[in-house]
C-alpha cells in the first residue's frame, strides 16, 4: 500500500518537490486519470493495464496545458507568489471537480473485470492482491526512471537549474516555460500511471482525489523537497505507518498516524528526511 502512495506522490515529487510549484489540483489530476481509464475500459474495452501508457500520454498533454494556461502566470506573480499558486491551483481543482460532476455525474463508478482485478497471488503463504502488486512494481520503476531522469539527463539538470535561478538559465539559452511545461507534463503523466492502476481497485467519483492528495503532500514533504529518493522513502514510511496504525487504532483514525509521523519528522528534521531545500 505504501508504494501506491509513493506512486501518487512521485508525480507530485516532480512538480512540488523539484520545481517548487504548489499544485493543489494534484488529487484532481488523479481523478481525471481514473476517469480516462474508466472510459477507455467501458467504450473500447481496453484493460487498465494496457491503458496505462495511453492515460499517461493523455495526462502529459493535460499537465503541460495546465501549466501553460494557468500555472505559468501563477509562477510569474510578483506579489504573494505562494498564495497565488495555492489559490489558482485550488480554484482549478474546484473547476475540475465541477466539470467532472457536470459530465460524469457524481455517481460512483468502477472498472469491473479487469485482468488483474480481484485476483490474488500467494507468496510464501501471504496472499497479495495482484493489482496492488503491479502498482508497487510500477511505482518502483517510475521512481527509478525519475531518479535517472533528474540526475543523469540534460533535461533533468535543466529542470533543477531552472528552479534554482530562472534568470541565469535564460542566459544560457534554456526556455523556462518549455522546461517547466515538460516537467508538468511528466509529473501529470506519472499521476496518469497511478490513476490507471488505482482504477482497478478504487471507486471513481469526482471527489476521489481529495482523499489522496493530502497524503501525497505529506509523503513528499516527509521525504524532503528536492529529493526523489526522499519521496520514495516517504511513500514506504507512510504505507508502513498506516498499516501499523490500523492495528492499534480504529480504521477511521488510520491517517492520524501518518500525520503524527510527519510532524515528528519535521520537528526533528525541519527539512524532511532527505530534503535539500
Amino acid at each position: 500500500m505504501g508504494l501506491l502512495y509513493g506512486l501518487i506522490a512521485v508525480g507530485l515529487a516532480l512538480i512540488f518537490g523539484l520545481m517548487d510549484v504548489v499544485n493543489f489540483a494534484h488529487g484532481e489530476f488523479l481523478m481525471i486519470a481514473m476517469y480516462v481509464t474508466f472510459f477507455l475500459f467501458t467504450f473500447f474495452a481496453i484493460d487498465p493495464l494496457l491503458a496505462a501508457p495511453l492515460v499517461a500520454a493523455a495526462l502529459f498533454v493535460f499537465g503541460a496545458v495546465v501549466y501553460l494556461l494557468v500555472v505559468r502566470f501563477a509562477v510569474r506573480a510578483k506579489a504573494n507568489a505562494g498564495m497565488v499558486q495555492i489559490f489558482s491551483t485550488f480554484g482549478l481543482a474546484i473547476v475540475m471537480r465541477g466539470v467532472a460532476q457536470f459530465f460524469f455525474t457524481p455517481d460512483y463508478r468502477s472498472v469491473p473485470h479487469s485482468w488483474l482485478g480481484g485476483k490474488t497471488i500467494s507468496i510464501g503463504g501471504i496472499f497479495l492482491p495482484e493489482p496492488q502488486l503491479v502498482g508497487a512494481a510500477v511505482s518502483i520503476a517510475a521512481f527509478g526512471a525519475l531518479y535517472f531522469f533528474i540526475n543523469r539527463t540534460d533535461f533533468g539538470r535543466a529542470l533543477e537549474a531552472t528552479r534554482e535561478d530562472a534568470g541565469a538559465v535564460a542566459l544560457v539559452g534554456i526556455d523556462k516555460n518549455r522546461v517547466f511545461a515538460l516537467g508538468w507534463g511528466l509529473g501529470a503523466a506519472l499521476v496518469g500511471l497511478a490513476g490507471a492502476i488505482m482504477a482497478m481497485f478504487f471507486y471513481i467519483y469526482p471527489d476521489v482525489g481529495a482523499s489522496f492528495a493530502l497524503i501525497a503532500y505529506v509523503t513528499v514533504a516527509l521525504g524532503g523537497f528536492g529529493s526523489v529518493f526522499g519521496a520514495f522513502a516517504g511513500g514506504i514510511i507512510v504505507g508502513l505507518v498506516e498499516a501499523s496504525t490500523a492495528l492499534i487504532l480504529p480504521p477511521s483514525l488510520k491517517s492520524v498516524g501518518i500525520y503524527a509521523v510527519y510532524l515528528l519528522v519535521v520537528f526533528v528534521r525541519p527539512r524532511g528526511l532527505f530534503g535539500s531545500m
Binding site: 510578483k78 480554484g91 474546484i94 473547476v95 469526482p206 503532500y217 477511521s252 519535521v266
Partner: protein, 326 residues
C-alpha cells in the same frame, strides 16, 4: 511625514466607522431573510479572514489549518452549553482562550518550520483535530451536536424569529477584528510582524524576537477565529466535525484575504463582500441542478482573480504606488 501618517490613520478610522454605521442601517431596508443570511455570512467570513490575516498576512506564517480554531470555538461553546448549561457567552470566551493556548502550544514546535513544511504542518494538525473529533463519542462523534433551542434571548444568544441579532453580532465581530488589526498595524507588534514576514533573519539580527512575535500573532489570530466559530455554532445551531473543522474552512477563511489583498487592512473585508455573496448566489441560482456548474464558475473566478491581481483587489482602490518586487 509623521502628521501625514497620523492623518491617514485617523481617516481610516473615520471611514471604518462610517461603513459600519451604513452597514448597521442596511437591515432596516432589507427585510428578506435570505439576503440577511448572506449578509451575516459575509460579515462572519470578513471577520474570520481579518483574523487569519493577522498571522498569515502580516506575520507571513501561512496557515491553512485555521479551521481547527474555528472548530474548537464552535465545539467549546456547544459542548459547554449542551452538557453543562454554561451560557454561550462564557463558552465563546473559553473557546477563544483555549484556541489561543493551543495555537501557542502548537506554534512552539511549528514555528521553527519554514515554507511548505510549515503550511503542510498546519493542514495536517487541523486534519488530526478533525479526525479526533470524528471519533470522540462524548462530543457527538461524526453525528455532531444539535444545540437545543431554549427560546429567544440575548442571554442564551439564541434567536429563532429574526436574524437581526446575529447580524449585529457579526457586524460587531467584524468591527472588532478590523479594529484589532488597525490598532496592531501601528503597534510595536505590527512592525515586528512585517519585519518577520519580509526577512526573519534580518529581523532577528535587529533585535526582534522572531519566535515570540510569531506566537503573539498566532494567539491573537486563533482567539478571534474561535470567537467566530462560537458565533457560527449558535447561528446554525447544529455542528458536526466536517462542517466546522473541514479543510475547506481553512481555505474559505484565507480566500477573502487573498482576493482582497493579503496583509492589508481592508483586503479581507473587501474580499468577503465580493466573494461570499457570489458564492451563495452561484450556489442557489445555478447550483440547483446539482451538476457542478456553480463549482466551475466559482473555481474559475478564483483562478482568474488570483492570477490577474496577485496583490489583491484592494490595489484597485489605492493610489498608485511603486510595486516592490520580491
Amino acid at each position: 511625514m509623521d502628521t501625514e501618517f497620523a492623518h491617514r490613520r485617523r481617516r481610516e478610522l473615520i471611514v471604518a466607522f462610517c461603513l459600519a454605521a451604513i452597514a448597521a442601517t442596511v437591515p432596516l431596508f432589507v427585510k428578506d431573510v435570505y439576503v440577511q443570511n448572506i449578509m451575516v455570512l459575509t460579515l462572519m467570513y470578513g471577520a474570520l479572514s481579518q483574523s487569519w490575516n493577522i498571522l498569515s498576512g502580516y506575520c507571513g506564517q501561512i496557515s491553512l489549518g485555521h479551521a481547527l480554531y474555528f472548530g474548537i470555538g464552535a465545539y467549546t461553546t456547544a459542548l459547554l452549553f449542551t452538557k453543562f448549561g454554561v451560557l454561550p457567552w462564557f463558552g465563546m470566551l473559553g473557546g477563544g482562550v483555549i484556541s489561543a493556548v493551543i495555537a501557542m502550544a502548537l506554534g512552539y514546535p511549528c514555528f521553527r518550520l519554514r515554507g511548505h513544511y510549515f503550511v503542510i504542518a498546519t493542514i495536517v494538525i487541523a486534519e488530526i483535530g478533525l479526525l479526533l473529533f470524528h471519533n470522540w463519542d462524548w462530543a457527538g462523534a461524526a453525528l455532531g451536536i444539535d444545540i437545543p433551542v431554549r427560546g429567544d434571548s440575548w442571554l442564551k444568544f439564541q434567536f429563532t424569529r429574526s436574524k437581526l441579532p446575529y447580524f449585529y453580532f457579526a457586524l460587531g465581530l467584524a468591527c472588532v477584528a478590523w479594529f484589532v488589526t488597525w490598532w496592531l498595524e501601528d503597534s510595536k507588534w505590527g512592525y515586528w510582524w512585517r519585519a518577520v514576514k519580509d526577512n526573519p533573519d534580518a529581523a532577528e539580527s535587529l533585535g526582534v524576537v522572531v519566535f515570540n512575535s510569531k506566537m503573539g500573532a498566532a494567539a491573537v489570530s486563533a482567539f478571534l477565529v474561535a470567537i467566530g466559530g462560537s458565533f457560527y455554532a449558535q447561528f446554525v445551531s447544529y455542528i458536526d466535525p466536517e462542517s466546522v473543522m473541514g479543510f475547506q474552512f481553512s481555505l474559505l477563511m484565507a480566500l477573502p484575504a487573498v482576493v482582497g489583498g493579503i496583509g492589508t487592512l481592508w483586503g479581507p473585508m473587501l474580499g468577503a463582500v465580493i466573494l461570499i455573496p457570489l458564492t451563495e448566489l452561484t450556489r442557489s441560482f445555478i447550483g440547483g441542478s446539482g451538476r457542478g456548474v456553480d463549482l466551475i464558475v466559482y473555481g474559475g473566478l478564483i483562478v482568474l482573480i488570483s492570477l490577474a491581481r496577485p496583490q489583491g483587489l484592494i490595489g484597485l482602490f489605492a493610489p498608485k504606488r511603486k510595486e516592490v518586487a520580491r
